[in-house]
């Protein structure tokens, strides 16, 4: 772990070489999801509520998902940009160093500009929390933290899957964006507003439902009993990353036997 921070340090130094473009990109990242959020706002302005969810409840959902996405884009950018690493042959270098491939790829890139996006979702989160009549308890705070961390792990898992595919295809697969960008767009609303099969897919296959919809019910006091289950369900969702990491190991083995 300390090695990871050493990687961060050198990447931050590199980033600071391009201060102007860094600031511009960060500002851009602040405003991109802002327009999406504005859309959300006007939608509720017009319709009042959707399937029993009102604006601040959805805003909370939005903030959690966007925050998770921004954090995982910061940290797991190395996996997101991995195809370039394979194409340029830099992965060979990773293999001749005495550390796990996982930490080295993770440390190969860090997207500091996503702090803009992070900041924006933090603002929305604070606003939503401030405006909702919530009964706070330590358990609820813990749940909120669990929702965000599990969300980060799920997005990271998808980035890892996407990177692993590069071992077979070399070129990056845009198709994975359906699940990262697409998943983010879908999961920023509570899942029960969608068709059943969509909700099921994003609960059991890619478990976004476990980090927003279900624990959100608990936070808002909409669940019928079984508090503990609703509270801990994000932790269950975060298990998604385990098969992703296994798949990664498999991909590395494939790479070493084909050298493509």
């Amino acid at each position: 772990m300390s090695l990871y921070f050493k990687y961060l340090k050198i990447l931050f130094k590199s980033q600071m070489q391009y201060r102007a473009s860094f600031l511009l990109l960060m500002t851009g990242q602040f405003f991109i999801p802002f327009s999406v959020f504005a859309g959300l706002y006007f939608l509720f302005e017009r319709f009042g509520q959707i399937r029993g969810w009102d604006f601040f409840e959805v805003a909370l959902c939005f903030a959690v998902i966007h925050m998770a996405f921004a954090i995982s884009e910061c940290f797991a950018r190395g996996f997101d940009m991995f195809s370039g690493m394979v194409v340029r042959g830099e992965f060979d270098r990773v293999l001749v160093r005495p550390r796990s491939t996982f930490i080295q790829v993770l440390g190969s890139k860090f997207e500091f500009t996503r702090f803009g996006r992070l900041l924006q979702s933090a603002v929305v989160l604070a606003w939503a929390l401030g405006s909702l009549p919530l009964q706070w308890s330590p358990a609820k705070i813990l749940t909120l933290i669990l929702m965000i961390t599990s969300g980060v792990l799920i997005f990271t898992g998808i980035f890892i899957l996407q990177a692993t595919m590069c071992f077979w295809t070399v070129q990056g697969l845009e198709v994975a964006n359906i699940f990262t960008d697409g998943g983010r767009e879908m999961a920023q609303y509570p899942l029960n507003i969608y068709q059943k099969w969509v909700a099921r897919f994003f609960t059991y296959v890619i478990p976004f439902g476990t980090v927003n919809y279900l624990p959100l019910m608990y936070l808002l006091g909409k669940n019928n009993g079984n508090d503990l289950l609703y509270m801990l369900i994000p932790a269950l969702g975060s298990l998604f990353i385990l098969p992703c990491v296994l798949f990664w190991q498999l991909g590395v083995r494939h790479y070493r036997s084909t050298g493509s």
Partner: protein, 325 residues
């Protein structure tokens, strides 16, 4: 120290056809051909050797290096290096080796070189004291004082290569793989790099395996050459032997007082002739150079004579031709 026994490696490569229609077809169905990159490669290298590993492009040099450095797993065969099987004990094994890929950088592009060194120290878990000693030694011998604080992107290729080599030696590896370390360097940098490689081999006993297309590298560094072509080993032996066996031609350039009689000496061939200068090649299987010079001095009044051995480059071309690679 290094033992390769019957290493085989083949790649599956998708056949590419020309034309839009074929390209569209290839989206769904691809024919594969198998390319045998290495066929029964066997050799042994002892500690402290410098081995030049040569062969034309696509001969299998890089594949061999990749197998020896633990990047690739061969199909069959065994490879034991310092008691490790490179691809099995990767993390433990690679601590003992340094790898320089001539056309790829291992340094972080936008930060001063010294920052890269510091990070490598953490990656390899080098103890602080060892790191200081090695680093200072490398900075001194490779003359990096001036450039160590500049970002890599501002360095010239020669400066960068010196830093690359230093970076791969920070953890004091026992074996150093150099994949085309002098590619694209100017003459001065080339000599500096060669000089340094010699030094670490002599003083630290680092075993060095070097691939290159520059035969001057081989001549300056390697006592032993391994020649590979189309995946098979073709020659493995002393450079001197190779020369003796194949370099049977010498070139003599003679300047003399004006003389209009053309030269005719048995066992030689005249490449160019003017009344004041002649360039002739001698086949040392037929006659000796001293014999030719004696005969020359009988015909003309010599002013100056220069004898050149056949460049190693020519020998290699001759070899490639002979083995049809």
């Amino acid at each position: 120290m290094i033992q390769l026994q019957g290493i085989n490696k083949s790649y599956k490569v998708a056949k590419r056809q020309t034309g839009l229609k074929q390209a569209a077809k290839a989206l769904f169905y691809r024919e594969h051909t198998t390319i045998e990159a290495l066929k029964d490669v066997t050799f042994e290298i002892t500690q402290g050797e410098i081995v030049g590993y040569i062969g034309p492009n696509g001969a299998g040099k890089s594949t061999t290096i990749k197998i020896m450095s633990g990047i690739l797993v061969p199909d069959t065969g065994t490879c034991t290096i310092m008691g490790y099987t490179p691809w099995k004990d990767r993390a433990a094994y690679v601590k003992n080796i340094g790898v320089v890929f001539g056309h790829r950088s291992q340094l972080w592009w936008d930060v001063p070189v010294i920052d890269s060194f510091e990070l490598l120290k953490d990656i390899y878990k080098i103890p602080q004291q060892d790191y200081q000693t090695t680093k200072n030694l490398l900075i001194e011998t490779l003359e990096l004082q001036e450039i160590i604080n500049s970002p890599v992107r501002q360095l010239s290729l020669g400066q960068r290569m010196r830093c690359e080599i230093a970076a791969s030696l920070l953890h004091s590896p026992k074996i150093l793989f150099l994949d085309e370390p002098t590619i694209g360097l100017d003459a001065v940098s080339k000599i500096a790099v060669r000089q340094f490689i010699k030094t670490i081999n002599k003083e630290k006993g680092v075993t060095i395996i070097l691939t290159t297309h520059d035969m001057n590298d081989i001549e300056a560094l390697a006592d032993r050459v391994i020649l590979i072509g189309k995946g098979s080993l073709l020659y493995d032996g002393q450079l001197g032997e190779l020369k003796k066996q194949y370099a049977t031609q010498k070139t003599i350039t003679a300047d003399y007082q004006k003389n209009s009689t053309p030269l005719q000496i048995p066992g030689t061939q005249t490449l160019s002739w003017t009344p004041e200068r002649a360039i002739i090649t001698v086949d040392t299987d037929v006659t000796s150079t001293s014999e030719v010079i004696t005969q020359l001095s009988n015909i003309v009044e010599l002013k100056d004579v220069a004898i050149e051995a056949q460049p190693i480059e020519d020998i290699i071309i001759q070899l490639y031709k002979e083995y049809q690679i």
